[in-house]
């Protein structure tokens, strides 16, 4: 008896690129183009001299790229009466940003910690109220808050805008940290209490070191939010502390004579730079932090 030659097993890998796949990729490509095109135009325009811009070839690459417009935007563009460029606004925004981010995260995490782990009487009602208020539009609060701050004598100042950002950041920050702390095993908190740690010791030495992913998320949310803020800065920061967004508006909307498109574009890109850097630099952390909050353990 001879061995019968068996046919080889014939399971073939399915074709990788089907028509549907091609369609999908084409769609993604077009969508990406749609969002990238304005950015491309901005970058290209900011590198062109005005003479070239006047020719109207919006999409053409600059014949001789120059960063003159960027330098002008940074150092000598006129923001209202003064002509010192947008760097003043950049520094103002930093001075507003750093204390606002730090304080709002500290206050928010402490509130979230207290509401999640310590069984405060009425904690859920308090938290619910905070969430409801968070959905009321800013504009409703502005006039009363202006009156409150003028009454207390703080008026428009750096402290005022920091306090404002802390208050408006509180609901989000509290929600973020409350949910994270509530997802931790409660026994951890009990163990710390048996070990004799008090309210602030448990917060500072046990809970906050564990909350690193949440802190990263909070820093990203607050940094981009506060940096992009326009109306609160305009109303509460005071004349000497106007943030970059307000300065940018002054540059772009108050030109005499010919509109310097290249300077406008450069100034806009400079203003958008920090949030962009934050997003690109921390995207990985951002996703990780969100996931860490959602999945226990």
């Amino acid at each position: 008896m001879t061995a019968v030659a068996q046919p080889l097993p014939a399971a073939r890998r399915p074709k990788r690129m089907t028509a549907a796949r091609w369609g999908l990729y084409a769609f993604i490509f077009v969508t990406a183009l749609y969002f990238l095109l304005p950015l491309y135009v901005m970058v290209v325009t900011s590198l062109k001299p005005m003479a070239e811009i006047r020719q109207g070839n919006l999409l053409a690459l600059p014949a001789a790229p120059s960063i003159d417009a960027w330098i002008k935007a940074w150092t000598s563009a006129c923001t209202g009466l003064t002509c010192q460029g947008i760097k003043i606004g950049f520094l103002n925004s930093l001075r507003i940003l750093v204390p606002s981010v730090v304080i709002s995260i500290l206050v928010g995490s402490l509130t979230g910690y207290a509401l999640s782990l310590w069984r405060v009487r009425g904690a859920n009602i308090l938290f619910g109220a905070m969430m409801v208020v968070a959905f009321i539009p800013y504009q409703v609060f502005i006039y009363p808050l202006v009156r409150v701050f003028s009454f207390t004598g703080l008026g428009q100042s750096l402290s005022t805008i920091v306090i404002i950002h802390t208050i408006f950041g509180l609901p989000t920050m509290t929600l973020l940290f409350r949910n994270y702390f509530a997802s931790l095993p409660v026994e951890l908190f009990k163990a710390a209490r048996v070990d004799g740690a008090g309210f602030y010791q448990i917060y500072a030495r046990i809970m906050m070191p564990m909350a690193t992913p949440m802190i990263v998320v909070a820093v990203i949310l607050q940094t981009t939010g506060i940096w992009n803020d326009f109306i609160l800065g305009l109303v509460f920061a005071g004349r000497d502390n106007l943030p970059m967004t307000v300065q940018l508006n002054n540059i772009v909307n108050s030109t005499q004579g010919e509109r310097a498109y290249n300077v406008d574009m450069a100034a806009t890109l400079l203003t958008a730079l920090l949030p962009l850097v934050v997003y690109f630099g921390s995207g990985r952390w951002f996703v990780r932090g969100i996931a860490a909050g959602a999945v226990k353990g």
Binding site: E187, K190, A191, R193, V194, D195, G196
Partner: protein, 361 residues
């Protein structure tokens, strides 16, 4: 800290409208190993948390070492606690985990080092002191948690299901370790578990709880041999106790009648004068004996299933009236499903329960 006793007087605990514990009394002697045993939701963990000061009580009093601590902070009660989920501080090394409580209390550094070193040696953790909890296995983590409790030199050690998260083999190992630790330290320990094997092996005394009430507080042997009611009887012991419904009959001698079968109760220690009444006979699988068919007190049954368990074999039988029971026989038993055999129930190993109240007769 000196070893303490624990005295709980008419303790009441509730959440909202739910009463978890009502009028509970319990006294734990100095150096005693007391196990709180019961199914989930029986209030045993609640009781332990109340002793630790981690939940508020509604009424009653808790004394530790003769001092009223009902409203004291956990740290001021002279207790240490080990949790089911280990509850190690994830961002601290093993050493910092163990020393955290002492650091918070402001203990001198050399004293902290001495105590941590001592506990680490006792629990074979010395080589792991600089690791993070995430770099440890489950058994190691729980040993660290025990170490963290030991360095506190507490008057009372509380264990909240410390072995429930471990696999069977580790559980057995760590159980022995805890028992050895108790023998060595002579500390007062209160230990919560739903695992009756843990309770039987570890305890000086077991408090079996159900529905927030201590059903029986006794030595493991007493609990096993003379359960006070059907709940305790069925909860303790594995494989579980068999229950056979029937009735008591007084004649020339008192006997238990189940259908055509008659079990002599000569030698059973009745708690009160027996009456002719419906009752339930309880007998543990290992107390049933094979006997000759002509034994007047024998019962014949058909084998339904055989479970070899290594050291011995569990044989599932059914009486003529349909009541099923299991009994334990040595592993060499030549038995086949479908065979009929005759067994007897020795009166001194039985438990009899009232049919309605479930109380021991």
């Amino acid at each position: 800290m000196q070893k303490s006793n624990v005295d709980i007087r008419s303790l009441q605990i509730g959440f909202g409208g739910l009463k978890v514990l009502e009028n509970l009394n319990l006294h734990v002697e100095t150096s005693e190993f007391l196990v709180l045993l019961g199914p989930s939701g029986c209030g045993k963990s609640t009781l332990l948390n109340a002793i630790a000061g981690l939940i508020e009580v509604r009424g009653g009093e808790i004394q530790i070492g003769g001092r009223d601590v009902t409203w004291a902070e956990p740290k001021d009660r002279g207790i240490a606690m080990v949790f089911q989920s280990y509850a190690l501080y994830p961002r601290m090394s093993v050493r910092r985990n163990m020393s955290f409580g002492l650091t918070v209390a402001g203990t001198p550094r050399d004293e902290i080092e001495r105590r941590v070193g001592e506990a680490a040696q006792m629990l074979r953790l010395t080589s792991l002191l600089d690791r993070r909890p995430s770099e440890l296995s489950g058994g190691q983590r729980q040993r660290v948690a025990i170490g963290r409790a030991l360095v506190r030199h507490a008057g009372v050690y509380l264990f909240d299901e410390p072995l429930s998260n471990l696999d069977a083999q580790l559980r057995a190992e760590l159980r022995v370790e805890i028992k050895r630790l108790h023998a060595r330290l002579g500390a007062t320990m209160i230990y919560v578990t739903h695992d009756q094997i843990e309770a039987l092996t570890l305890a000086d005394r077991i408090a079996v709880m159900q529905g927030g009430v201590i059903q029986q507080l006794d030595t493991p042997k007493k609990i096993y041999r003379e359960p006070v009611n059907r709940f305790v009887a069925s909860f303790v012991g594995s494989p579980a106790m068999n229950f056979i419904p029937g009735r008591l009959a007084r004649g020339s001698e008192i006997a238990f009648i189940a259908g055509v079968n008659r079990v002599s109760l000569n030698g059973y220690a009745f708690r009160s004068q027996p009456t002719d009444a419906p009752a339930v006979l309880g007998i543990r699988p290992e107390h049933i004996e094979l006997t000759a068919a002509n034994d007047p007190s024998s019962v014949s049954a058909r084998i339904e299933m055989v479970e070899p368990m290594g050291a011995d074999t569990l044989i599932w039988c059914r009486l003529a009236d349909g009541t099923a029971f299991s009994f334990r026989h040595d592993a060499d038993a030549q038995v086949r499903v479908g065979d009929t055999l005759t067994v007897c129930f020795p009166a001194d190993a039985l438990s009899l329960f009232d049919e309605t109240s479930g109380q021991r007769l």
